[in-house]
């Protein structure tokens, strides 16, 4: 089984669900990348979230399990109450250490670990939110040669998180929710 050669990690907090629901229907099934969604939320709505995203997507949607290989054209959701890490052999690991930025899963933790595993073959996309999670991770993604993208704060329900990122991290591109699917699909052409 060959694991996904590319990776897209999407991180969102308050208001992050809306752009995700906007971009999912536009993704193409030939995508050579795995897509990983790290969304801050209450732990109670687990299965509901997977169902909700599945209904919007032609690609399979599942919760990431530990030791599972990352496959292309598959959408993985970080489980509630664990940090999600990526190993250099392109499998998932879970970690239940302290919260980071008051969050578990933390977007920073996944961005940074994905950067170490995927280097220039990854893109991090940071969405709407009301805290500072994601900024430090974007710096690590950039340093490892990956691409950094942020939701246009003007389109975000909570603009604090994308604004912080734009202020403090090297951001390659700022996107409207309506542009996100096309931006991701471009990977299918390389």
């Amino acid at each position: 089984m060959t694991t996904a050669p590319y990776l897209i990690v999407i991180g969102g907090s308050a208001g992050g669900l809306h752009p995700i629901l906007t971009l999912l229907p536009g993704l193409v099934a030939s995508l050579p990348a795995a897509i990983l969604i790290v969304l801050h939320r209450q732990s109670h709505y687990e299965s509901v979230l997977t169902d909700l995203l599945s209904a919007k997507s032609a690609l399979p949607v599942k919760e990431a399990s530990e030791k599972e290989p990352l496959l292309p054209a598959t959408i993985y959701i970080a489980p509630a109450d664990y940090h999600l890490l990526i190993e250099t052999d392109h499998t998932f690991s879970l970690d239940d250490s302290e919260k980071v930025n008051f969050s578990r899963p933390s977007i920073d933790v996944t961005f940074t670990s994905a950067a170490l595993a995927y280097g220039s073959r990854m893109t991090a996309l940071l969405l709407s939110g009301a805290n500072t999670d994601g900024t430090e991770g974007l710096i690590d993604v950039h340093d490892a040669g990956g691409t950094t993208a942020v939701q246009d704060p003007a389109t975000a329900d909570s603009d604090y998180m994308p604004r912080q990122a734009i202020l403090h991290a090297p951001v390659d591109i700022i996107l409207q929710p309506s542009e996100m699917a096309a931006f991701i699909n471009r990977m299918a052409e390389v």
């Binding site: 399990s65 530990e66 030791k67 489980p79 664990y82 890490l85 990526i86 190993e87 250099t88 690991s93 879970l94 970690d95 239940d96 250490s97 302290e98 933790v109 940074t112 670990s113 170490l116 595993a117 430090e136 710096i139 690590d140 340093d143 403090h168 991290a169 090297p170």
Partner: protein
């Protein structure tokens, strides 16, 4: 802006040093988490270079101990995942009740919150008097805390909620006395708990149990090490004994899958059906 991170190769150098000098073997842990912890400690302790970090670990046994205790994750809670404790109450304790003497092993028990939670279940089922609970961990520091049976008072509201969700009917605060910032749990709950060091990587089986609880420990191990530790658990269980894992851990697709049958619910509890 950029951060000065230690590479995975450098981390393996340190893990080899720790193994050769001090005998703790972390070389078969899942690398991503260890990597993160090693980097975190490097930053917190403000080492100017990797070489100095490494020198300190090699030359200072007290610091090496700190390193060992910091790179493992010790986070824990009372009655974490209430539905798991509910399943223990309704599906496991009635079976344990049929034995004249109950032996339980909590492997990777950390500071003991989980062990005290289980002791409360046994107490309420009137089984604690005929039970002994071995609570083990690699980290001597957390075991010392477990022996004290004192947990942060600020957590008690959350724990009390978890306890009630798990089917608890008593007043949770009757199990402890508040003491400044701490809740000291009742002596009678701790009487049957033996806290002692045990390293799942290097130490063997030390008894036969009817129940082994090992939650959120295997996620930190490689697949190969998981298989080895699961074999250790299987060898340490009586026929028809129970093995309970964390909510994201599984016995499926492992070396012992064929010997176990999962209980009929969605909780991570298996029964050993084959010797």
């Amino acid at each position: 802006m950029s951060r000065n991170l230690i590479s995975e190769q450098e981390v393996s150098l340190l893990l080899n040093d720790i193994l050769e000098r001090y005998g703790y073997d972390f070389t078969e842990y899942a690398p991503a988490s260890i990597n993160r912890r090693v980097n975190h400690l490097y930053q917190v302790d403000r080492f100017p270079s990797f070489a100095e970090y490494r020198y300190r670990i090699i030359s200072d046994p007290a610091y090496a101990l700190r390193f060992v205790e910091e790179i493992t994750v010790n986070v824990t809670e009372m009655f974490r995942d209430p539905s798991f404790y509910q399943a223990l109450r309704t599906q496991v304790l009635p079976v344990l009740a049929t034995y004249p003497f109950i032996r339980v092993w909590h492997a990777g028990c950390s500071t003991g919150e989980e062990v005290y939670s289980f002791a409360i279940l046994l107490k309420e089922a009137k089984l604690l008097h005929k039970a002994v609970i071995y609570a083990t961990d690699i980290n001597a520091g957390v075991l010392e805390k477990g022996r004290k049976g004192m947990f942060r008072l600020s957590q008690m509201q959350q724990y009390s909620r978890n306890y009630m969700e798990s089917g608890g009917r008593e007043d949770f605060s009757s199990y402890y006395t508040a003491n400044y910032e701490y809740a000291k749990f009742r002596e009678d709950l701790g009487e049957k708990i033996i806290f002692s060091p045990h390293n799942l990587v290097t130490d063997g089986s030390f008894n036969e149990f009817q129940l082994i609880i090992c939650r959120n420990v295997l996620i930190y191990f490689s697949k190969k090490l998981q298989d080895r530790v699961l074999t250790l658990f299987s060898d340490s269980l009586e026929q028809l004994g129970f093995l309970a894992l964390g909510s994201k851990e599984t016995l499926n697709f492992t070396s012992v899958t064929g010997k176990f049958k999962q209980l009929e619910n969605r909780e991570k509890i298996w029964r050993k059906v084959q010797l």
